[in-house]
């Protein structure tokens, strides 16, 4: 068992709920959560366990629930695992906290869970059961508590260049964290989509846990004038390059290139297979810079961030619509040719994406006889589907990822989509395994639900026996649950990025 994990197993009986409550409160309090947050975590876990006990089992069925508490420097992840019936989102109705006396109450438990936690994720693991993962981050002082407001004013971009200077490039030290947060604040205001960067203590703990690898540029006097980071979950084969800032007086001196080079070298040493960037489209500059560093557009994520992401101060800069980002990818290792099964109607653009990325893939067509995902006389016992859903509350988006197909998958996606739309999620992204032959056929069914093509996210290939390598790449779709995207407002830097956006636009019936 991992050293950061504790486990409690209880029978599926609500009389054990106080034990669960005492357990998670003790872990949360020991981790340093404030009383209010300890109470919130208890509430969410209690509601989740109650829901599972009351809905996932047949009357009289004796089963167990296992509650894992995983401690991280940035917070606590509670996973509730069971082998009961799959979660049925159709049973949940929308809850309106400002509704009248006759408000519908069946959606209240999940509303409380969403309100109490920072991240909620449903994972269906087929025959191995299902998991509900609840994450809460520790509250730590934000950058605003370290500096008076005048020292957090946006950089003057017309400032005279600093005198010629030598810079040192290195990985961050804990003492740099406050200056990093200030640097990002002064460039982005409170608009950077990822609240961690504004909390110096969290930047330190995430670097310690390797969820984040920060590189800094410092002057000879030791002042931080630039920052860039890799971020992702520990063990991810592909990490994101983000939080790139250089103080204006030190720009046009190759500072960012040095930082990116340092991070790429580190990423290669760690054995990462690739890096990605999510570059905004409200202006073309980030895309231009990332293109220069070798990232190539492989997907367009419509409406990825809200118009007012963390916009606590700079209200006059609210975006005209939810912010679309261009997903750029760069392989770091030799990428073996693996087999993909793109849907026939997207084959030409998928070919173009791989060509633009410089990746070789074997395009295969599925054998029709092997494609059934519903039981038949030929295949009476099919594997259960494997699907997970992650809700990113701060961005107002959700990601459904299918790792394996099985009977009922289309209905499950339909139910999830409806549920997420009820909850007011603005965009739902759906990732399909391109190495799975079913994707070639099922993709169109999801598009009939209103999902649009988004692009490709390359992932490491997996050995598939004597047949060779099975691609780990994801085919990405997206569903906009809100106002149509005004494509004329998107500023796209690269020719291929424009081609990709045009491809998506032509298929968007609301465009």
């Amino acid at each position: 068992m991992a050293r950061n994990t504790t486990i409690l197993t209880i029978p599926n009986d609500t009389s054990y709920l106080p034990i669960v409550g005492a357990y998670v409160m003790a872990v949360a309090a020991q981790l340093g959560f404030e009383d209010t947050d300890v109470g919130d975590i208890r509430l969410a876990v209690d509601e989740a366990c109650t829901h599972i006990i009351e809905t996932a089992f047949e009357p009289g069925e004796e089963q167990n629930l296992t509650i894992f508490c995983q401690r991280y420097p940035s917070g606590l992840k509670v996973t509730i695992a069971d082998k009961g019936l799959p979660f049925d989102p159709r049973s949940i109705k929308e809850y309106d906290a400002h509704g009248g006396l006759d408000r519908e109450l069946s959606g209240l438990p999940f509303y409380l869970i969403q309100q109490a936690m920072d991240e909620v994720r449903f994972v269906n693991k087929g025959w191995e059961g299902k998991e509900l993962q609840l994450t809460k981050y520790l509250k730590v002082p934000s950058v605003e508590t370290y500096f008076p407001q005048e020292e957090l004013r946006p950089y003057d971009t017309t400032v005279e260049p600093a005198p010629p200077a030598k810079y040192r490039y290195r990985f961050m030290e804990p003492a740099d964290a406050i200056e990093i947060a200030r640097c990002i604040y002064k460039v982005y205001g409170y608009t950077y989509p990822g609240e961690h960067v504004y909390h110096p203590e969290r930047v330190v703990t995430m670097n310690q846990s390797r969820e984040m690898i920060s590189a800094v540029a410092v002057t000879e006097a030791g002042k931080v004038i630039g920052h860039c980071a890799l971020s992702g979950q520990p063990g991810d084969p592909v990490m994101e390059v983000s939080q790139a800032v250089v103080a204006p007086a030190h720009r046009r001196r190759g500072v960012m290139k040095e930082l990116v080079d340092l991070l790429m070298k580190e990423a290669r040493q760690r054995g990462l297979t690739g890096l990605f960037v999510a570059a905004v489209t409200v202006h073309p500059f980030s895309q231009r810079v990332t293109h220069k560093y070798g990232f190539r557009a492989s997907a367009v994520l419509l409406g990825y961030a809200p118009r007012n992401v963390q916009m606590k101060k700079i209200v006059d800069q609210e975006l005209p619509q939810r912010e679309t980002v261009v997903y750029g990818y760069q392989p770091l290792q030799e990428d073996p040719c693996s087999r993909v099964f793109p849907p026939l109607h997207h084959r030409s653009i998928v070919t173009r994406i791989y060509s633009n990325l410089g990746l070789e893939r074997e395009f295969a067509s599925p054998e029709a006889s092997r494609l059934s995902i519903e039981p038949s006389p030929l295949a009476p016992e099919l594997p259960h589907f494997n699907l997970s859903t992650q809700i990113k509350s701060a961005l107002g988006i959700a990601v459904i990822e299918i790792a394996g197909y099985g009977p009922g998958i289309e209905q499950e996606v339909k139910n999830k989509l409806r549920d997420l739309c009820y909850e007011g999620i603005a965009v739902v992204y759906l990732n399909l395994p391109l190495g799975d032959p079913h994707t070639a056929v099922v993709c169109q069914h999801f598009e009939e639900l209103g999902f649009l093509f988004s692009g490709i996210r390359p992932r490491p290939a997996k050995p598939a026996g004597p047949e060779g390598m099975s691609s780990g790449d994801l085919l990405c779709l997206q569903y906009i649950n809100g106002p149509p995207i005004n494509y004329d407002l998107l500023q796209i830097y690269s020719d291929f990025g424009q081609e990709l956006v045009q491809y998506v636009r032509e298929r968007d019936s609301l465009a």
Binding site: P18, D35, D40, R42, L43, D46, T50, H98, L108
Partner: protein
């Protein structure tokens, strides 16, 4: 969880709820409140000063009782909520529907 009830001189029922109201114990609270309504009591004060926790199951019981009590010309009032219990009522938006007072005395006034 312990519940004690008493009927005051003006017919208002005072309930003291001690302990935690979760999906398991909410059934007991539900039964107590339903019995009171069935006996014609619709003016109910729930003293929660000794309540350590309430889940959605408990909130549901309180709101459904309040709805019924309103139909009968009364209501459910709450008093003495600790910070965490009050926060749960507020997250759920129940503070907009129910009269919540700091003290039992305030809840007993103005029927």
């Amino acid at each position: 969880m312990k519940i004690s009830t008493c009927v005051t001189e003006n017919g208002v029922v005072l309930l003291e709820v001690e302990g935690e109201v979760d999906a398991h114990t909410a059934r007991k609270l539900d039964k107590t409140l339903k019995d009171l309504l069935a006996q014609g009591h619709s003016r109910l004060v729930l003293d929660a000063s000794q309540m350590g926790y309430i889940s959605s199951a408990g909130l549901r019981v309180v709101l459904l009782t309040h709805r019924k009590a309103r139909q009968l010309g009364g209501e459910v009032r709450l008093s003495g909520l600790n910070a965490q219990v009050r926060r749960i009522f507020e997250i759920a938006g129940f503070d907009e529907l129910l009269r919540i007072s700091d003290t039992r005395q305030e809840s007993m006034e103005g029927w």
